[in-house]
Subunit: 346 residues, 2 copies
């Protein structure tokens, strides 16, 4: 089946399906015993990302179990800084650690040329997946948005307020822009390689888009995403790009209009029907937004909410997804129940 | 000066001032050396909240320095669970700790009757402040919203995703509702006592409003806040209530319409001009939303942004504030610079 006929891509072609396509953020992950086994085999988390055979295997695992309409490349948004030369390590139970970069001098030590070999390893995973995936399954490539990736590079780890990146952006906007510009260039190159290797669709994860006031949101979230979107359109006009500006709330509509993304991922707090209504005349696919914790709870409440979302989105160009990634304590059978419920629609 | 002529209350009377009233969330706090001294004198954080002389002193400190248009009672949102019988302790450098409540049985051991003596201690602070505050300074009372307070009571501490409260609400909505109902009743009683003791205005802090999908947001954020708002209106029709549903984003407009709050606090990511435009015909005062980290950075960028916010809000019923609380590393002189800049307007 050629990319353009994939069921997953129908909403981007302007089609409304009776049963919306479904995939789930972090569908390959710790809630699956087979993932935990492959993860143990790899030893280190980044080694899992950089070993095409194993990364492809964990990407395929949820497809085998649930038959989602799309697979998403298994990787991590911090592959980009790691490839650029800011070594990333994952501390068990704590998360990622990087030696923080907080000056133009630190940025100058990173190189895009040096990143290519690691990007190509990820592209090899994509190639492998393109071979091994069922013909009817779309393959989503992805990267972290420059802003979100920068927050980790500047903080040196995850944080609840992204304070160091925000402070650097206020105190030395030109210096911080150097980092963002490098990430824009790297993201374009990285996504281009993913598409050339076989990705049918791309998602840009902007997990920390919600911490910024409007002027900073425009400069560090909207404009870089727009540059990436436009560059990709030149290179691959038919490959849709989904933006996921988590927490953008009242400014998510603006994000869509300005960046030119083809799809908008709604976080748990952003009702898809509200987002959809804001774009009645525009060609934007809405994706989301079941609460990952309701997928943990399961039961009739899960069924009822799934039905409610489907009812509210009937007749719209819609992709069923969560509002954030699957959490590790999710019972795998609840994911099966969800997929069955969505598919029993219509 | 009687409460009704207070400058701070002018926007609630429908007046547009050339220079908007200004106060800052967490204006009494660790960024001030005199606060740190009083805090050290009290020893324990909760003891500071429960000692009227000391709590009044730290409330007054930023008024002496900056002459804000309003003081906000110094207390903590966890006074309510503590008073209800779920002992709260503050661990230095880590935050609050409570023995988690996760069942109707746990709720049944809490009592509103037992809370009164601690509420009255807080009311004594309010009385003291009413005497000691300059006549032109309004006094804001407050409580945490039931949802946000419940997230701490169920989790037993702060958390980034409020998972335990959300899971309980999904698995046993009736049981969780028992906790919310108790918090609604306690909040009404607590705020009533604050007004009787001299508070001119009330704010309801819903720090974790942004984690909920629309149906849960309606049940656990909007409806309880509406009940509190309506009860207070019966008791004290002239006392305005400001809601601060942090992270509500696209659903903040709905929150205002449904709850009947008189003012809406905009978080850092919610542009006040967007919020204001949504309520052109309604009697809602918009408050916010300078980034607390820009107050850390200071400099010309701070001046420019203050001017921009003032320009965008010109002619609107507006209260100048931050989008979240002052952070401890804020240089006190930047707060002075901000106040001067706002006051030099017009």
């Amino acid at each position: 089946m050629g990319g353009s006929e994939l069921r997953f891509l129908a909403p981007f072609r302007g089609e409304v399906l009776d049963v919306p396509p479904i995939w789930l953020m972090r569908q390959a992950g710790r809630y699956l015993p087979e993932y935990r086994a492959t993860r143990a085999e790899a030893g280190d988390f980044l080694k899992l990302c950089y070993t095409p055979k194993l990364a492809a295997e964990v990407t395929l695992q949820p497809i085998r179990r649930y038959g989602f309409d799309a697979a998403i490349l298994f990787s991590d948004i911090l592959v980009v800084p790691d490839a650029l030369g800011q070594a990333v390590r994952f501390v068990e139970g704590e998360g990622p650690r990087l030696d923080p970069i907080r000056s133009a001098d630190g940025v100058s030590r990173l190189t895009l040329a040096g990143a290519v070999s690691k990007f190509d390893v990820v592209a090899e995973t994509v190639q492998r997946l393109r071979q091994d995936l069922p013909h009817e399954t779309a393959l989503i490539g992805f990267c972290g948005a420059p802003w979100t990736v920068a927050t980790y590079m500047v903080q040196g780890q995850g944080s609840s307020d992204q304070a160091e990146a925000r402070l650097w952006a206020y105190r030395d906007p030109e210096g911080f822009e150097g980092l963002i510009d490098l990430l824009v260039a790297a993201s374009i190159d990285y996504l281009d390689r993913q598409v050339k290797a076989g990705a049918d669709c791309l998602q840009i994860f902007d997990t920390w888009a919600g911490s910024l006031p409007d002027d900073e949101f425009d400069r560090w979230v909207v404009k870089p995403t727009k540059t990436i979107r436009e560059a990709l359109r030149e290179l691959h006009p038919d490959v849709p790009v989904i933006g996921f500006p988590r927490g953008a709330g009242a400014t998510a509509v603006w994000y869509v209009s300005e960046t030119g993304v083809n799809g908008i991922g709604c976080d748990t707090a952003t009702p898809p029907f509200v987002m959809s209504e804001a774009f009645d005349e525009e060609d934007v696919v809405v994706q989301g937004n079941l609460d990952p914790l309701l997928l943990v709870a399961g039961g009739e409440k899960l069924d009822e909410r799934v039905d409610e979302i489907l009812d509210l989105m009937e007749g719209k160009r819609f992709i069923f997804n969560l509002g954030h990634g699957i959490v590790p304590q999710t019972p795998p059978e609840n994911v099966g129940r969800l997929v069955e419920r969505v598919r029993s629609k219509g």
